[in-house]
């Protein structure tokens, strides 16, 4: 057994990514146990605070995806309770989880990001959806990505190829949240670049290339083995690989992230463009961070054990 003591992985939550989070949490727990860590999972429900208070773990690994796990809420609670945790502090999570805010920060740090507009549902209601959508199409052209401003796993996200499909995509998007990000579609190589920081500064992991076999990288393509082909390392030129790694580290630093993150990029015309960043990356069988660690010859359990040890030593 490691001398880390008892650690807790938070998994579940009430966002639509609950199922994914439960799978991430179980896989992480098993990997940590294999690495000799006394690890258990816990849900973020009414039993959590009494449990953390009665028997505080050495550290917590938040593996809750979507709201509450990635928007800084659970990190605020852990800070209030004085429980050390892996990952970014609450303010950084808030900005990272909000795609438009993260894009703005990334852009300010010198990264390229696809053009986009962010609009709440009230704007469409007050100004007339038709006029607003017409202007968006005229400006960015088609196809367009419509995504909830906050959320993950491509839930509520649609790639729109025809203007008449745009209203339907907006309705689907607003079922997941009140603000939409409408982004130009940049064609290129889709990659995810993990970043870990074990005390020597943020280090990029090998880029994972994502190639859905049919259609886009939607929920089914993400979580059905066999529907997406992954290449690790991504099939990029050395210059592109270097630029992608630098972009992921730059995003990690600019957003004030800590310990671990995953940046999603699209490489077009040799240049990586920032799409979004995740502070609680997926850890399922089809998730890219564990693939990247594996390709780097790093064990998931060992790396996460070290991140937990680092968090425990750091305190809150």
């Amino acid at each position: 057994m490691s001398d880390l003591g008892h650690v807790l992985i938070l998994a579940g939550g009430l966002s639509p990514e609950r199922e994914v989070s439960l799978r991430s949490g179980a896989r992480l727990r098993d990997a940590l146990r294999e690495a000799g860590v006394d690890a258990d999972t816990a849900d973020a429900d009414a039993g959590l605070i009494p449990a953390l208070t009665a028997d505080p773990p050495s550290a917590v690994f938040p593996a809750i995806h979507g709201a509450s796990g990635e928007d800084g809420s659970i990190q605020e609670v852990l800070t209030l309770l004085g429980v050390p945790y892996v990952g970014a502090p609450p303010d950084a999570c808030r900005f990272a989880f909000d795609k438009p805010a993260a894009k703005a920060i990334a852009r300010a740090a010198g990264l390229v990001t696809p053009r986009s507009v962010t609009l709440p549902k009230e704007t469409f209601h007050d100004l007339g959806a038709g006029a607003v959508l017409d202007r968006i199409v005229a400006t960015f052209g088609l196809p367009l990505f419509v995504k909830p401003a906050r959320g993950g796993s491509a839930l509520g996200a649609t790639l729109v190829g025809a203007a008449e499909d745009l209203p339907g995509a907006m309705i689907s998007c607003f079922a997941y949240g009140d603000t939409a990000l409408i982004e130009e579609c940049v064609l290129g190589t889709e990659i995810a670049v993990g970043v870990i920081d074990l005390g020597n500064g943020p280090e990029p992991l090998p880029a994972v290339e994502i190639r859905p076999l049919a259609g886009g990288y939607d929920y089914a393509a993400r979580y059905t083995p066999g529907q997406t082909e992954f290449h690790v390392p991504a099939r990029l030129t050395p210059a592109e690989s270097k630029a992608a790694a630098e972009a992921a580290v730059a995003a990690h630093l600019a957003l004030g992230l800590r310990d671990v993150s995953r940046t999603d990029l699209i490489v077009a015309a040799g240049e990586p463009q920032f799409l979004e960043v995740n502070v609680a990356p997926g850890m399922t069988e089809t998730s890219t961070l564990p693939m990247a660690l594996d390709a780097a010859g790093r064990g998931l359990g060992i790396v996460c054990r070290d991140l937990l040890s680092q968090a425990a030593a750091r305190g809150t």
Partner: protein
């Protein structure tokens, strides 16, 4: 300092499970699942889905789930059932923990005939095949009758579990319209004539005549005779799936279709709703030829159903007041049905219509025109209420404007709370729809039931 990918050799002589080999495989593209090219055609649509992801949230206690059809098993006298199970193992463990016959325990089959007698069925235990829930009976029936491309007729909407089974055998489902009196006989006749003209092979009609899942409606008595007559004339077998038949809230149980046609109807029954779903005991009642094939198919599928749970059900029927317990369930579900219908009437927005079930578990609700129950579900989950979108109950993409509400599991207070939340969700979705498209919201309340699915009920106030 970037972390480099591990440099791996690609010597094919190395063990395939070694770490370097896995790296090499990934660098040349990995589908994660090494068996992708081996799956059958019928497995190609088995994929992760957003809807399943949302249902994972719906199972949490924070959500009022009007989605699942879970019987309220805690209304059973659990202590008595536990004592009975303990004695069964202690006294008859050698049989209860052993393999049994593929047709099922003979004493249980006698008990099943007693249960079916309540719906007017006169049957011999030899005609009964015990199955792992009636779902397995459905699977076996489809297995022995359906070749890929054969037509199965089913109500519109139809039970989602049946549609899944039909899809797995690559059947072509043709839906037949219903209204508030159940399957529409004229529409059934027209469908059969059309299919015959097209030289398409219709293998059977699948129907849930009493307290339909998901529609909540019941095939009226006059129509029962009509449906049987049409199928007899066309030479089409009827599969009568009747899990809710004893859970009517008014009067005596309706006479089953099988009671009036022993040769043209296969009856599927279940103890999941009248005793406990976790026992997984159901049955098929079939004419001798079909029975023989079902027994062989069951043997190939599971060798035999669980002896333990079969003997438990047999003992329960022999020693427990099961008829009284069904009355307890009926009263409990009636109270919950009333809570749902009363609240629907009080809070649902203009343009919604719904059925008024006389038994069973479900209300079928039609949204105001233009709303889509599937795309509305994330909003509902965020508002802490869950339902099943109507599309799951159609094999042809229908059901977008419908949803199924189940009142069997939540207590009445939670049902009221859930319906109030749902009303707000529908209101918000209507606003969004109005923003992004021409509002096709109905100006009035409930209209007459249409033939795209039952949707009668009181005007929404």
């Amino acid at each position: 300092m970037p972390i480099e990918p591990a440099r791996a050799g690609r010597d094919d002589d190395k063990p395939r499970t070694s770490r370097p080999e896995r790296h090499a495989a990934l660098s040349h593209g990995s589908l994660v699942d090494a068996h992708v090219g081996r799956y059958s055609a019928r497995a190609k649509d088995m994929a992760a889905s957003e809807i399943r992801a949302l249902f994972a949230v719906a199972a949490r206690p924070e959500i009022v789930s009007l989605a699942g059809g879970m019987p309220y098993v805690t209304a059973l006298p659990l202590d008595a059932v536990g004592d009975m199970a303990g004695q069964l193992v202690a006294q008859r463990g050698a049989a209860a923990l052993q393999y049994g016959s593929a047709q099922g325990d003979p004493a249980l089959r006698e008990g099943i005939c007693e249960v079916m007698a309540l719906e007017g069925i006169r049957a011999h235990p030899d005609e009964v095949v015990v199955t792992v829930g009636s779902q397995q009976a459905l699977d076996l029936i489809t297995r022995i009758f359906v070749d890929p491309g054969d037509v199965v007729l089913a109500e519109a909407p139809s039970y989602v579990g049946a549609l899944g089974t039909f899809a797995s055998y690559q059947a072509q489902v043709v839906h037949v319209p219903m209204d508030d009196d159940g399957l529409v006989p004229d529409a059934l006749g027209e469908s059969l004539a059309r299919l015959q003209a097209q030289s398409r092979r219709v293998k059977f009609l699948y129907t849930v005549p009493s307290f339909h899942n998901p529609a909540g409606v019941t095939l009226s008595e006059p129509r029962r005779a009509e449906v049987l007559g049409i199928c007899q004339r066309a030479g089409v077998l009827v599969i009568e799936d009747n899990p809710y038949g004893l859970l009517g809230f008014d009067g005596e149980p309706l006479r089953a279709l099988r009671a009036d046609d022993a040769h043209g109807v296969v009856y599927l029954g279940s103890f999941s709703k009248t005793i406990a779903a976790g026992l997984r005991v159901g049955w098929a009642l079939a004419p001798a030829g079909i029975r023989d094939k079902l027994v062989l198919a069951a043997e190939a599928s599971v060798l035999c159903s669980s002896s333990l749970t079969q003997l438990m059900v047999g003992e329960y029927l022999a020693s427990q007041p099961w008829r009284e317990q069904i009355k307890v369930f009926r009263e409990l579900y009636r109270e919950r049905r009333d809570a749902m219908l009363d609240t629907l009437g009080a809070v649902m927005p203009q343009g919604c219509r719904w059925t008024r079930p006389g038994g069973g578990f479900y209300v079928w609700l039609q949204l105001p025109p233009g709303l889509n129950s599937k795309s509305m579900l994330p909003r509902a989950i965020s508002s802490r209420v869950a339902y099943v979108p109507g599309t799951g109950f159609y094999a042809d993409g229908g059901g977008t404007e419908h949803l199924r509400l189940s009142y069997c599991f939540p207590e009445p207070g939670r049902i009221r709370e859930g319906i109030c939340r749902l009303a707000e969700v529908i209101g918000a979705e209507t606003e969004i729809r109005a923003t992004f498209g021409p509002s096709r919201a109905a100006a009035g309340g409930a209209g007459p039931a249409d033939l795209t699915g039952p949707a009668g009920g009181p005007p929404a106030s």
